[in-house]
Symmetry: C5
Subunit: 353 residues, 5 copies
Amino acid sequence: MARFFKKRDASIGLAPGSLVFIGDKKVEGMQIRLIDYDTEHLRDEELRDIQSGAEALKSNSVSWININGLDDTPRMRELGTTFGLHPLLLEDVLNTGQRPKLEEFDGVIFIVVKMLRLEEGLVIAEQLSLVIGPTFLLTFQERPGDVFEPVRNRIRKSQGRVRISGSDYLAYALLDAVTDNYIQIVERLGSQVEDLEVEVLSSDAKPDVLGKIHDLKRELSFIRKTVRPAREAIMQFSKLDSDLIRPETSPFLKDLHDIATQAADAIDTYREMLSDELNIYNSSVSNRMNDIMKVLTIFAAIFIPLTFIAGIYGTNFEYLPELQYRYSYFIFLGVMAVMALAMLGYFKRRGWL
Amino acid sequence: MARFFKKRDASIGLAPGSLVFIGDKKVEGMQIRLIDYDTEHLRDEELRDIQSGAEALKSNSVSWININGLDDTPRMRELGTTFGLHPLLLEDVLNTGQRPKLEEFDGVIFIVVKMLRLEEGLVIAEQLSLVIGPTFLLTFQERPGDVFEPVRNRIRKSQGRVRISGSDYLAYALLDAVTDNYIQIVERLGSQVEDLEVEVLSSDAKPDVLGKIHDLKRELSFIRKTVRPAREAIMQFSKLDSDLIRPETSPFLKDLHDIATQAADAIDTYREMLSDELNIYNSSVSNRMNDIMKVLTIFAAIFIPLTFIAGIYGTNFEYLPELQYRYSYFIFLGVMAVMALAMLGYFKRRGWL
Amino acid sequence: MARFFKKRDASIGLAPGSLVFIGDKKVEGMQIRLIDYDTEHLRDEELRDIQSGAEALKSNSVSWININGLDDTPRMRELGTTFGLHPLLLEDVLNTGQRPKLEEFDGVIFIVVKMLRLEEGLVIAEQLSLVIGPTFLLTFQERPGDVFEPVRNRIRKSQGRVRISGSDYLAYALLDAVTDNYIQIVERLGSQVEDLEVEVLSSDAKPDVLGKIHDLKRELSFIRKTVRPAREAIMQFSKLDSDLIRPETSPFLKDLHDIATQAADAIDTYREMLSDELNIYNSSVSNRMNDIMKVLTIFAAIFIPLTFIAGIYGTNFEYLPELQYRYSYFIFLGVMAVMALAMLGYFKRRGWL
Amino acid sequence: MARFFKKRDASIGLAPGSLVFIGDKKVEGMQIRLIDYDTEHLRDEELRDIQSGAEALKSNSVSWININGLDDTPRMRELGTTFGLHPLLLEDVLNTGQRPKLEEFDGVIFIVVKMLRLEEGLVIAEQLSLVIGPTFLLTFQERPGDVFEPVRNRIRKSQGRVRISGSDYLAYALLDAVTDNYIQIVERLGSQVEDLEVEVLSSDAKPDVLGKIHDLKRELSFIRKTVRPAREAIMQFSKLDSDLIRPETSPFLKDLHDIATQAADAIDTYREMLSDELNIYNSSVSNRMNDIMKVLTIFAAIFIPLTFIAGIYGTNFEYLPELQYRYSYFIFLGVMAVMALAMLGYFKRRGWL
Amino acid sequence: MARFFKKRDASIGLAPGSLVFIGDKKVEGMQIRLIDYDTEHLRDEELRDIQSGAEALKSNSVSWININGLDDTPRMRELGTTFGLHPLLLEDVLNTGQRPKLEEFDGVIFIVVKMLRLEEGLVIAEQLSLVIGPTFLLTFQERPGDVFEPVRNRIRKSQGRVRISGSDYLAYALLDAVTDNYIQIVERLGSQVEDLEVEVLSSDAKPDVLGKIHDLKRELSFIRKTVRPAREAIMQFSKLDSDLIRPETSPFLKDLHDIATQAADAIDTYREMLSDELNIYNSSVSNRMNDIMKVLTIFAAIFIPLTFIAGIYGTNFEYLPELQYRYSYFIFLGVMAVMALAMLGYFKRRGWL
């Protein structure tokens, strides 16, 4: 459960702006991929060195440089210097325990969000950092594998607006993929929540329902911690008064904010449903308990007095007159039958049967 | 329960603005109805093709074009091009999982709300999109059948202000019908809530009350998710600084917002009542349980010691002096009667009887 | 419980501004009373027709026209036309399910609040609408009988400032009477809440406490729904930048807002106290239950093993050596006494006695 | 418990601004004390008549007139007229059920707060009204005895800044004493809350803990109702843009607001702690209950079957073969021992022992 | 638990600005350490008298004077006079029960925060006051031992920006160390919360879990009371429009605010997790209780009737016909076996086994 809070021990006491990788997953080295395009040209290749990336940035075409793997600190430092990134920006990129946020640093927009995936019921978050410049977009991921393949394909096939738009639209397209990813994860957890509802209301809910509710609640809390600040960052992005955002991109960003709001709303709805399910489960457990107790009460309350009467006639007193009458036994049986029926009637009248 | 969240899988990864129908209910094809009116003329007919609708829009009279059925994507694309609608607007129209909202797109006001209906205790939401232009109003519904017949009749019979007002008033009139519809649904659920209250407070509440409370709570949550953003959108509508809204329509929009607020308040009140009912039910269940337990306690506590005493005199010890006295049995009965009365007195004094 | 929400069915589908009476209580016809005064003159009479009221309005003296009974729709329409009231204003007057609010309509201030009264433990709300003009005040009530008699007397006897002030002060005086009325109702319910507290903390609280708590909570919720928007409306009134409000009336309106805030605070305090009382009650019920269970446990745990031992010596085995010893019975009794004492000691040590 | 809401019945229906004393405690007559000082002179005496107070007010030195006892309405009216106080201000002074607040009336600042004291576990509030003028300060208390003696001594001994500052600083000094008083009361209740925590966590918490928690919660609610609006009033005071407040007093007022915030925070902390304690208490009660139930279960579950077996061999069937074998009894004892051990083992394995 | 609220009794009634030390821990005397540096020079020594500190302040290099030990009131007063500190500022420094805050006093920025450390599971807070001037920084601590050693080392070794920046950056560096300290403490408590989660969900959670949850909750509440206002103060610091803050320090302060927000978020997350754990624990306790009760019910319900039947045939009635049949005993055994199986079947069908 270290997911809830990345250990920062490594960076405690260091000078601010020191580059320390904070996180768990490591890949071998750093992978740099450049996709450089305008309406007419397209360059799509793996880069060997940081320098050639820096050259691509200078062109007027949109240059998207994606970096996988953040734990090679010296190369990250080189990258920071080559691309002219603020030390605090770079520190934030490396600290994968960052809260989603948007910040402006000398002429670039810096956005941090999380990409989510489900692994054996646990939601795993991977940090994605975007640096949006006038004609370029840098993206930093912790490891290979992302949700951007459809965007890459649209660039390659010149689908949609992406080839005729700038780096702001590209950033939007990537964030759109991330937000769609949120929706998918929330939907998947949500359908588990809805399945649980049926189980909870059924009469044979098992005690492990409790654990399932707790697990789902924890995962939804985890996602909420990711989605809410991401939505805030997106809202800031859509309202930013910056030369880097073209006016025609603005409605797309508003739309993006709508989708993030939808995801956040759905999370709250599902969390509320889980709370309701917990209440229902607890109520139905105690209802069933009550049924069991009622049966015990009825058995005990009927047979305990009868057993006592039988006990009386089981005593060995020498002078116990009733024992000698010929029909004593049958009267004894009859009296007990009447008592049992009387008690059943009483319980019925009280509504306990 | 897929009602809480429309699956977006179909659109994941597509370029933004791509037209994909997201939703469940489908009708055969697309129905287009034009009602075109001014104070003097009225045209009310089913249109076969989109083009003739576009021509109607050019007139100075108010043209209300209502489209039923959204899943014919190619025709929707044609419609978008013909009427000059922004791709994101059209995407929102087709995504029936949209959150109610108001947006302005190049010279038109775009409002999304939900129409509700009750089907076997479940609230079903159908999306209604309105596009308000200077002299026209486009409305999009998922399927035929709506709450606008009274408005159509008022247009046909020249009742009220609708024939002497513009497209803004027509939009208001439709939204008024939708809000009245909310009130009706809330009222119907509310009267179930109030009926439940009587049942809960009665002494023979059945365990299925729990399920009923849960169902009503879920439906009210569902409506709330619909009504609250709708109210927000209506408030934005009433405060919009736009040429499309005539000053004389403004008090009507404020009134509309009042009604939506009333609906939202009523939902909260009923939800609160349900919570109270749940508490009352739980308390009364445990109260009844306590009554049952008390009876058990009293029976057991009285008869268990007596049975033990009878057991003593049921032993077969050869030398058990009490057995030989002539009045032993009667003394034995008397002692037990005294013990029983003493215990009854003790329980009475403790207030357990 | 239809108090929580007035049925609007009658008006569904009608054109906005249509006059429909929505409410329960009806009186015979409509009563119109005029009190017209300035510092020197006073006219106080029942009016037969609406027209003569309209004439009174034209004078420079303050004209207070109070209308009792709203269900005579044609006369209401006549009244609206004669006094030049906006159709939406008149619709709101007739819809007695209105939420308290303040609105400005062409040169008049329109305020809706509720008057409350207690009837057999239920709070009944009656709608009061005020239309404040430059020299007149129209008030609309559902039925005769109100809390304004002291104000009328002050006018008649020239007490206080009312005769030397305008229609705004008169409206303030009436709203002050309404707010005092809130305080009285809240006080009365509050003293019931305080009485319940004593009952709940006593050891013999009866189960009907639950119902009483619930009833009081519901009534307080009901009042809160009335007082909170009324307070808002009063605050708007006190801050309104309108020629209709003289500067010297302003501190009185602020004071009015203070009193409404006091009422709203008291409602919240009492609701909180009720929640606490419910918790206390539930805790003390389960405490008492625990006491009962403890007694059962001790009786059962002590006597069940003893009875078992007695059972052993009640068996009829032919060879059961202990039975023949002369002191067996006394040893048997002694052993059981020791066991009982040991168990009592154990329970004592565990703190269960 | 009439502390929560002062009865206003006496003033219902009266003209606003009517002087009616609303409150409980009455003293004999009205005591007027004047402390008039500047850097050099000091006059400190009991005044017999209101007129001589009014004369003192005219001097340029700071005149602090403190009035004890508010129920002599005619003298209060005389005082109002002599000192030129607004009727609403005077009405507020007399209504001791006032909510703490700050108001500006023609050239004076009017502040209402409460002084608290603990009497047998109950917090008693006494209303303090301050009227701050350019060179004077009027304070109104319900009865003699206050927390201002240290301030008076500082004035008399020329300690601190008070003799070199104006009426605004004097008002600050008094409010500072009141806020210190809040801190003291909250501390005293808080230490009770902390003592309760120890008691609740101990294994022998008594049921009266419930009542104690409830009492402390109620007292803290009561204080909160007093401190929160007082803090608001102090904040308004510190931000007031008024000639009556000298710039050098401003940091002191900010400090005052800090202390009030500290008191309000502490109240919330203690209330939260009480809620936690209640939860802990309830949990530990049900934990103890569970322990008791477990013992019952184990005793009952072990001995009930054994008793049954003994019962079988206690029957008087003529042909019951086992009875005749010589070792039957010992086999019988052995079987029962094995059964008892098996069950103990089962319970152990389930973790119930 | 006096941690929650420092006793102010000592200062009650004193003139505002009076210097009184409020707190627990005392050290012998006062330790003054000066670190004076610019890009080239460094002076790092213990000062004997206050006067020499005051001289250091006059230089253009950054002078950091750290004072350990606050209870030597006369020297504190001397210090205040020598350094020209506002009396209220000095009073706040001495009152170690201060709420974290930022204030501006004639040309200096005054910040109060808390340093935390864990001692045997309890969080101990020590107050740190910073006075930021144009070229100097005063810090006040209650006792020696702090989290600033890394900062001192960076100054000594000229690492990072600190030697090339001003007093604002130094204050930032110290606050950064404090915030890192918060993160560390929260992490340590958080990992305990996460460990508890595993324990709570396991089947053999012990009752002391309750105490642990309560303890952690209390510590987190305590930290929250410290971190939240500290975050506010940091936010004010980052937004302050003051000559004392250089523009290049601004992004660092924003970053600081991010970290404080992260700490506050983590606290809330862990508190929420604790609440969930408490719910889970309570639910699982009652689930286990239910299991125990079920066993009791089944044993009791099966054997109680059987024992009764055995009791019947244990009676000594002279005429009890069944006793004489040869196979009575075997029929009797058979009947009882059938009854037991029937009941087991019934319980199975009800889902109780």
